[in-house]
């Protein structure tokens, strides 16, 4: 089993998108959580912003992250010809 340059590029692109999405994940969870006290004065839909993020906003972003990743990778598989059969 020999990997071609194309295969290596596929893996690099996978790593890049994984890294970017994990950075977003880290930001909405830990950075906003760390500064929660300082963001308390911002209000959104009646909620203080940190409460809104921890109770809804971040959760919705997680769902979008996973959805985006699944779509992106399933297309990338096709583009690089490493997709599975017709299942």
């Amino acid at each position: 089993m020999q990997l071609t340059e194309k295969h290596k590029e596929y893996w690099q692109r996978n790593l890049r998108v994984t890294g970017i999405l994990l950075a977003i994940w880290f930001f909405v969870t830990f950075v906003i959580g760390w500064f929660a006290r300082d963001l308390q004065s911002i209000t959104i839909l009646g909620f203080p912003f940190p409460f809104y993020m921890a109770a809804q906003g971040s959760l919705a972003i997680y769902v979008v992250i996973i959805w985006y990743y699944a779509n992106y990778m399933n297309k990338l598989d096709q583009e690089y010809g490493v997709h599975e059969g017709d299942e």
């Binding site: 997680y62 959805w67 599975e84």
Partner: protein
């Protein structure tokens, strides 16, 4: 599996489950009619619990199988959408369903660590593990460790860790089953545990993963319907908006305003609260005073005090016009008096702590990390540590990861993680709304009402269970103050239908939902344990030539043994549920995550790295919990103020360090293993090796 038949399979599944959902709704309507005809509530409770358990049993029997691949991974043809629902049910336990909203009610913003942790972990599952494990495609998580790192040692550590964290977690589930069964049928707790156990076993015993998958889908539908109905109703009642998740922001504003009033002694309501708190302060000081006297006077003091009480009772009886109630109370005071110094110390310490908890001002629901600067920073640190442990634990619990072996392809596995989190999200973003709506109800409708006309749900629950709801007129003004009400977390979900003024049928539905949540998680966990023993230990290590029938027979036998053992441990009522659950996550995070993630993303990781990383991660986490969790009685000082529940923080760090250092000190893995890593990284490669087990 050819395209056509997978598509057909998918559409027939959709048809089955649509019929099923319709049938379930019809069933609820019939029970509602029975209620209107005057059938007693207790019978309705029985009908609900018995009907749903029989339903699961029916699905279990229909899904029985003697095929290895069907038994371990449901034949690898579960479509993404359905695997998502099954994962949702597998994931959401009794703690999520019953406990979460209550935790949020009691701890406000700080409780959101559970909401964040138990959803955000799926990002790690999706991005770092699920697609790769699916490509690897065998039966258990130790299978992957065994193949990736070679030899039986990594596999054995994996088996040990899988059993340890699944067992810790399953005890919490069976506890939940026992609680619900006993509350809604009036059976003894320990009988409830074993009755619930029957319910768990009928699902998984005959059909393994296949039966568990299809029952879990059914259980998801019940649990989500049961959770949503009362919350939507409560939201309409308080806001006129049927979407609680949007509406409760403004309710939260009102709750915050109310908190300010209650904490401000210059307002009439605030003054009353301050009065009650002062009484509690007095009681706390009295109990502390007794403790001090006990320390100084010892047994003599105890005997003297008891003597005084006995004297008072005797004096009372000597009077000709003695009031029988007062005499009984005096006798009871003598009878209840602590027998020895140890008992007295325990009782008075508890009394002082209980009263002290009531002297604090009303907690601000939306405020993160309340307290002075040092306390606040400590809380923030623990909040983030807990979030991290729960997230990484999510991405390491074998019963969840195992579910992604059951999809037909890598592509479907990726989509399936999306569906999983979507279905989990539906419940988790509702729970904070429920907590706020219930709080609004208590703060505005209950507080300030008169003791002579309490809302019916308050008196009903106060008479059922004092730990869930207790209410006493401390300052004898006939009006309810917030400090006079004690609410147990589990009450919030269990009582919501009554708070919202819904008929009893909805209460039955909520009980059925809680049971579904606990049963589905328990099923997944027991199967994980039994599979680790039968597949990894027996088949892979002891007898690799065992025939299929023998493997399945052993697996089913072990399932039974493990289930009975777990139920027995549960009936002893060990520890605190939330801690058990949290501990399972910390343990899984420490033992599995570093070796699994680095196994995919770092080719250089090798056998010795995995052995050192897994054992030191697990070891440090267990050591920290043992030393610091009060249950074990050691009570060593905390490291950097991190609570024992987040011990996984140290375990994970040790795990990553162990894998990296151990690998770099020893030789790189050979070509075959490196090929395996490439194999899992690409969904399809030409001239690829094959690892999928049929």
């Amino acid at each position: 599996m050819a395209t056509q038949s997978q598509a057909q399979f998918f559409s027939s599944l959709k048809r089955y489950y649509s019929f099923y959902t319709g049938g379930f709704v019809a069933f609820v309507i019939i029970v509602a009619i029975l209620e209107q005809m005057g059938v007693p509530n207790k019978i309705l409770g029985y009908i609900f619990l018995a009907a749903t358990v029989m339903l699961y049993a029916g699905i279990g029997v229909m899904s029985r199988t003697a095929d290895v691949s069907e038994y371990y991974v449901a034949g690898r043809r579960v479509p993404a959408l359905f695997n998502g629902m099954a994962t949702g049910a597998d994931w959401m336990s009794a703690a999520s369903f019953i406990g979460m909203a209550g935790t949020l009610y009691l701890s406000g913003y700080d409780g959101l660590a559970f909401v964040l942790g138990w959803t955000g972990g799926y990002c790690l599952v999706a991005l770092l593990l699920a697609p790769y494990l699916r490509k690897f495609g065998q039966f258990t998580i130790p299978d992957f460790l065994g193949a990736r790192y070679g030899g039986n040692i990594p596999r054995s550590i994996g088996v040990f860790a899988a059993i340890l964290c699944s067992f810790t977690y399953v005890i919490a589930q069976i506890y939940g089953v026992g609680l619900i069964t006993s509350r809604f049928t009036g059976l003894e707790f320990s009988i409830g545990v074993f009755a619930g156990l029957g319910g768990i076993l009928v699902c998984s015993f005959l059909g393994g993963m296949r039966a568990v998958t299809w029952t879990q889908v059914a259980q998801y539908i019940i649990l989500i319907v049961a959770y949503m109905i009362p919350v939507v109703w409560l939201s309409v009642k308080h806001t006129g908006n049927p979407v609680p998740q949007i509406a409760y922001g403004y309710v939260l504003e009102k709750v915050t305003a109310r908190e300010q009033v209650l904490n401000d002694p210059t307002t009439p309501d605030g003054a009353k609260e301050a009065e009650v708190r002062a009484i509690f302060k007095g009681r706390q000081e009295a109990a502390e005073g007794k403790l001090k006297a006990l320390e100084a006077g010892g047994v003599t003091y105890l005997a003297e005090e008891k003597g005084k009480l006995a004297q008072a009772a005797a004096d009372l009886k000597a009077k000709p016009e003695a009031d029988p109630a007062a005499v009984a109370a005096a006798d009871k005071a003598v009878a209840d008096y602590p027998v020895d110094a140890a008992a007295a110390k325990k009782a008075w310490t508890a009394a002082a702590a209980g009263a002290k908890a009531k002297t604090a001002p009303v907690m601000k629901h939306a405020e993160p990390f309340a307290g002075d600067e040092a306390t606040s920073n400590k809380k923030r640190k623990n909040f983030l540590a807990l979030v991290l442990c729960l997230m990484v634990g999510t991405a390491a619990l074998p019963h969840i990861l195992m579910r992604y072996y059951t999809t037909p392809s890598v592509k479907e596995a990726r989509k399936s993680v999306f569906w999983s989190l979507f279905f989990i999200f539906l419940l988790y973003f509702t729970a904070p709304a429920l907590a706020v709506l219930a709080k609004f109800d208590v703060y505005t409708l209950l507080v300030g009402s008169s003791f002579s006309e309490l809302p019916s749900w308050v008196s009903a629950w106060a008479s059922v269970d004092k730990s869930l709801m207790s209410i006493t007129d401390i300052n004898k003004d006939g009006i309810v103050q917030l400090a006079e009400v004690t609410i147990g977390g589990d009450l919030i979900v269990l009582a919501t239908p009554e708070i919202a003024g819904l008929p009893y049928v909805i209460t039955g539905l909520v009980a059925a939902g809680g049971l579904a949540a606990a049963l589905s998680t328990a099923d997944g966990l027991l199967l994980t344990i039994a599979n680790a023993l039968s597949h990894d230990v027996y088949y892979k290590m002891i007898n690799p030539h065992a025939a299929t029938t023998r493997r399945l027979a052993i697996s089913k036998g072990l399932l039974l043994v493990v289930a009975v053992f777990a139920a027995w441990v549960t009936s002893l009522k060990p520890g605190d549920i939330l801690f058990l659950v949290g501990a399972a996550f910390s343990l899984a995070a420490s033992a599995f995550f570093p070796a699994l993630a680095l196994g995919v993303f770092w080719k250089r990781a090798n056998k010795w790295g995995a052995i050192i990383g897994m054992s030191s991660g697990l070891g440090i986490c267990m050591y920290y919990m043992y030393m610091t969790y009060p249950f074990f009685g050691v009570n060593a000082p905390l490291w950097w103020d991190i609570n024992p529940i987040s011990g996984g923080l140290f375990g994970m760090t040790a795990g990553f360090a162990g894998v990296i250092i151990g690998s770099l000190l020893t030789a790189a893995p050979d070509k075959e293993i490196q090929n395996l890593v490439d194999h899992v990284r690409y969904p399809n490669l030409e001239g690829d090796i094959k690892t999928e087990a049929a």
